[in-house]
Amino acid sequence: MSAPAPTAPPAATGTTVLDFTDVARQFPDGTVALEGVDLTIQRGEFVTVVGPSGCGKSTLLRIASGLDAASAGTARIDAKRIGYVFQDATLLPWRSVKKNVELLAELHGMSKTATNQAALDAIELVGLRGHEKKLPRALSGGMKMRASLARSLTLDPDLFLFDEPFGALDEITRERLNDELLRLFVTKGFGALFITHSVSEAVYMSTRVLVMSGRPGHIVDSFEVPFGPDRTPELRFTPEFAKLAGEVSHALREGHS
């Protein structure tokens, strides 16, 4: 698929969309899932969180989306529109691809024509042209994720949250979707908070990688990623990439032990 080449620098890069100060989350049963989390994300930043299972990554994302609230500290969300891509595509099985992509625009009360146009544009962007009439059950896992991505894209979000969106996909599909998402990010310039278990995916996608550790969940390390916006799959095989990925992996193991 061909996404439009990045033209002018995206508008309003640098606006803060998410600002966490000393955020904690304790559940009623006493589990402390997060503690002392400071995190700021601006438009044009792609921040990835890696960490062991159960360390509180999803909790962090749910607070960022407003689905859950911090039990201490302040979580400021300055995004007008939030995109949230879950691990499952969560498509409605009775709606066609097109109708699924239109759902959020409908919920936000966009006009019929605007909804239709936004859906067509988003479907084009994720490379699902020609599949508009299909029902979700006729789609492969990768196509479902694309549809889910397109659904959020219709809102043109300032803040995009991803909870292991490609975790269930095979490596080839996953890397292709990485490239497509990266291109969307460069074009649209949203702020992104992305969760993954894959260090390689984290380094490839991000402007910044955060390493989390559990019990209670907190950020143990942060890495600025020096690579520019025009990344290609070959980047994965450069020594610089390997070095950074190695450091992130090391921090992950340190935090784990």
Binding site: G66, L67, F86, D88, W94, L103, L107, L135
Partner: protein, 302 residues
């Protein structure tokens, strides 16, 4: 199928259209295809067994009529063909049966329609709040637990013995599966879907219309199908009990039986059964039409 290895001569083309193995191309007109024969054979056994079972049952029926029963008591189990000769082809009988069938159909569908409306509204109300559910669910269960037949005399007592009472019996019998299936369907909506709607600040009505009801449709239609069968039962039972007003199938069954008219009685039973089958399949078909494209019905056993 095997790939065509021969150059596509006319022979090869013929043999492939007949789906025979291409290694042995045959001249047009010859009997090709052991394959075809095998397939036809399979189809035949596919029909054969059900037909054989049916024939055996008819055979047993004849045996009971002619071998077991004395000639004077044959009205207890009249031979199958007499259902046709002494009922279906007898205008005296059919002039009673067909109008009665019509009346019972009207009662069935009126009752079912009312049960559907009340049942769905009831379930939707309960799905919107735990307090409403706690206050209304016991009555749905009561409806299921109290033998409705015990209330039939009371219904007649209150609402007279006509159309209204018959419909009320129907509704009471058909209501519970619609209430419970609709509620179950609405409550088993995927949590991720709910979060998606919460995230985008969908209101109650939007959530109900765009998420909960569509997701519940397979369960709701399963409920319709069960209730459709029950409302036939309701129509017959009401009729059978009230024994007044324009006769439906129930009154007819009771009349034929008290007058020892064996063949008409059996014929009416068959007609009643056919009505039951018809509504069951009608709702199966409607369900397929409504949700078949996205919902895999082979997953639920009913």
């Amino acid at each position: 199928m095997t790939a065509v290895q021969n150059p596509p001569t006319e022979e090869a083309l013929v043999s492939t259209t007949l789906e025979s193995p291409t290694e042995a191309p045959v001249a047009a007109g010859a009997t090709p295809a052991p394959l075809v024969r095998r397939r036809r054979g399979k189809k035949l056994t596919g029909y054969l067994l059900p037909v054989a079972v049916f024939a055996a049952l008819i055979g047993v029926w004849y045996a009971i009529t002619y071998l077991i029963l004395d000639p004077g008591r044959r009205f207890l189990m009249p031979a199958p063909h007499t259902l046709i000769t002494e009922a279906l082809l007898d205008p005296v009988i059919t002039d009673k049966v067909w109008p009665a069938l019509g009346r019972s159909i009207v009662v069935t569908f009126t009752g079912l329609a009312i049960a559907i409306v009340i049942g769905m509204l009831w379930a939707i109300a309960m799905s919107q709040s735990k307090a409403v559910e706690a206050s209304l669910y016991p009555y749905a269960v009561a409806l299921q637990c109290i033998p409705i037949l015990a209330l039939v005399p009371l219904i007649g007592f209150w609402f007279d013995f006509g159309f209204t009472s018959r419909v009320i019996v129907c509704v009471m019998i058909a209501l519970f599966p619609i209430v419970s299936n609709t509620l179950f369907g609405i409550q088993s909506v995927d949590r991720g879907h709910h979060e998606l709607f919460t995230l985008h600040k969908a209101g109650r009505i939007t959530r109900l219309v765009k998420l909960q009801l569509p997701a519940a449709m397979p369960a709701i239609f399963a409920g319709f199908r069960i209730s459709a069968g029950l409302s036939v039962v309701g129509a017959i039972v009401g009729d059978l009990f009230f024994k007044q007003g324009e006769p439906g199938l129930g009154i007819l069954l009771s009349n034929f039986s008290s007058r020892l008219q064996g063949a008409p009685l059996f014929f009416t039973i068959v007609v009643t059964a056919a009505l039951g089958f018809a509504v069951f399949f009608l709702f199966g078909w409607l369900a397929k039409l409504a949700v078949g494209s996205w919902y895999d019905q082979s997953r639920d056993a009913s």
